[in-house]
Symmetry: C2
Subunit: 389 residues, 2 copies
């Protein structure tokens, strides 16, 4: 009997693979062949999860905390998250409005699943984290990407939003500090955008997964408003990437729908991870996290001038995260080929701009300082050798 | 300034809450007031995760296995899963075609996200697990529910599929053994359905999360075909509910798209859980799991005749899972009110049929035997008292 292969849904045409995965695979192949590769392509801290969190996870497993939690998460953890907003960001968050999710990925899926469907549009910056536009596409809505550049710190402005808004605009998505640029939005601009969204009935989603990794003491959370969807994660600042735990702080009106979505899409976030995360807010843990953060800052403060001196243009000092988004057009007119050659010739892996959007990707590289300082020094030595060829 | 509340996407109107959650909340309120409640409403085994899995999880945490894995999962775990198909179900599965997911929920989201979008239809049985139709609705497709009854073991038949198929039919979703009925599809009927789907270019998705909990030695996996999407989970047989880990075995053609979706929607499944699950296939673990399964079977073999003797009609012996779907129309014409009264008057919590679809839900109750045998005996005593009032 003849067989017909099922076809994929139309959304799949709009969901691209991560190009960095090809770089990573190639880097691993070179390593397998004996080469020493410096991994500056990976968006994951190289630090281990702090011991108090690990031990809380161990204790949870041994205590048998392996059954489902409530779909919204452990109330004790939701309260601890609300407490962190109060102490760290002087923002009042009701624990009842916090959903614990499988990573920030889960939080974005909940927020966009609630807000965006066929015919709807969601505004976001280009360059930006590629999953953001793919989540929107997954929800059969349209990601309207707005080209941003150094003039606005690679962030949306109210003016750029107004220019791209249509009656179909359902949400504005802002990431601050952002991946791949590390740049943050100013409190004033965010306030203007918030007020415009509130007046227009447009939802404001703010991705703050790198907020606690802001290096210039300018952390400001959008949770100071109670009508914003604020996405956060235990992955980056709290060094819990593989545990897959994040959260969403949402407006009161959205909670019943978000609970229904969480019940159906996830059942709940990982129970051992939730128990472990309770230790993330202990003073000893926060001390360790702040020390890690100081180390990341030191890496930025080495790498940023070093790259600038070598002709990479990074016009805006990135406030946070662990990325530099470097204009390499002084060296090449194709950042993809440049990244390829850098990997092959001197064993330094970076991510070409192509992963982050359509706005001049061929001019840019994302360089993640997720390696210890001595390795960054070695990377610069290798880049010198590469540029001298 | 006046504010306008954003509106929810249209999909949300099609995503209902779990009615069982209201029963659960009420049961917990009664417990808080000092009442003893027998929980037969919860679709989660009461057993702890086996010790070898817990200890493997502990070892993984202490070894620092807390970074992201590959989006498709640890290759060692994908190989172990393929090995389980070979030894348990005599099915050849290529590890390269296995995706490790955050629970079976993640597997269903991947499969339906790949296959179903606006304008598409997915056929499934009514009664059925409510999340299935909600996943389809989440993907902006239409869940076409087909009323099934005892005559077909509450399973779809090729004839019923042909009657409901249209040119928009993109997938058929079968769960075997099924929630809420515990009944399995016969190998012959599944073969007929498989062949029809293959000839028509309709995807076949088979949810086998309860397959290893089949009590009459008739386990047969749809993974014997390499063109089926087979969903499974570490939650039920392996007793790892709160760890949130499952998998999807998929056709070769689908793997690149599924990898893209997994990268974007999840990044990866929980790393500690993946390492822990490597211990799920150890002989010592499987011995414990088989002992647990024997206990579940003994519960079924007590509860099924006990309920039948009391006028609850369960025409088809359920082959697996841990549910009985009982027609209580000899006692009531409203199973929701009946469940409510049973809880309030004698402290036995069960789930009304309403959670599982539109086909005669008022006649049915789902009774989960997720409590030890002495508690089931006590539940029957209480039901006797209730019926005698």
């Amino acid at each position: 009997m003849s067989q017909i292969r099922p076809r994929a849904a139309s959304r799949m045409a709009g969901i691209a693979p991560f190009h960095v995965m090809a770089i990573l695979a190639q880097a691993q192949a070179l390593e397998a062949a004996g080469r020493d590769i410096i991994h500056l392509e990976i968006g994951e801290p190289d630090f281990a999860t702090p011991a108090p969190i690990v031990e809380a996870g161990v204790a949870a497993l041994r205590a048998g905390h392996t059954h489902y939690t409530d779909a919204l998460g452990l109330m004790q953890l939701r309260e601890a998250i609300a407490g962190f907003y109060a102490t760290r960001w002087q923002a009042t968050v009701d624990p009842a409005h916090v959903v614990v999710t499988p990573g920030a990925s889960g939080a974005l899926l909940l927020a966009l699943g609630l807000l965006a469907g066929p015919g709807d549009e969601v505004l976001m910056a280009d360059p930006g984290y590629p999953c953001n536009r793919h989540f929107v596409r997954f929800c059969d809505a349209r990601a309207v990407t707005v080209a941003v550049d150094a003039a606005s710190g690679f962030q949306l402005t109210l003016e750029s939003i107004q220019r791209h808004a249509t009656p179909a605009t359902r949400a504005v998505l802002i990431a601050s500090p952002a991946n791949p640029t590390g740049t943050a939005i100013t409190p004033d601009e965010l306030t203007r955008i918030h007020d415009w969204c509130a007046a227009k009935g447009v939802a404001l989603i703010v991705d703050e997964i790198y907020l606690a990794l802001t290096y210039d003491d300018s952390e400001h959370s959008a949770a100071r408003w109670d009508d914003v969807f604020v996405v956060n994660s235990f992955s980056k600042y709290f060094l819990m990437t593989g545990w897959r735990l994040g959260w969403l702080a949402a407006p009161a009106w959205a909670m019943p729908a978000l609970e229904r979505l969480a019940q159906n899409l996830f059942l709940a976030a990982s129970t051992p991870a939730q128990h472990a995360a309770l230790a993330a807010f202990l003073p000893a843990t926060l001390d360790e996290l702040e020390a890690r953060k100081a180390e990341l800052r030191a890496r930025r403060d080495f790498l940023l001038p070093a790259l600038r001196e070598r002709g990479f243009v990074i016009p805006t000092q990135p406030q946070g995260a662990f990325y530099l988004y470097a204009d390499c057009s002084g060296h090449t007119d194709d950042s993809g080929q440049f990244a390829q050659a850098l990997l092959e010739q001197v064993g330094v892996a970076v991510t070409p701009g192509l992963d982050f959007g359509q706005h001049q990707p061929q001019r840019f590289l994302r360089i993640a300082y997720t390696q210890p300082l001595p390795r960054l020094v070695e990377a610069i030595v290798r880049i010198d050798g590469f540029l001298a060829r």
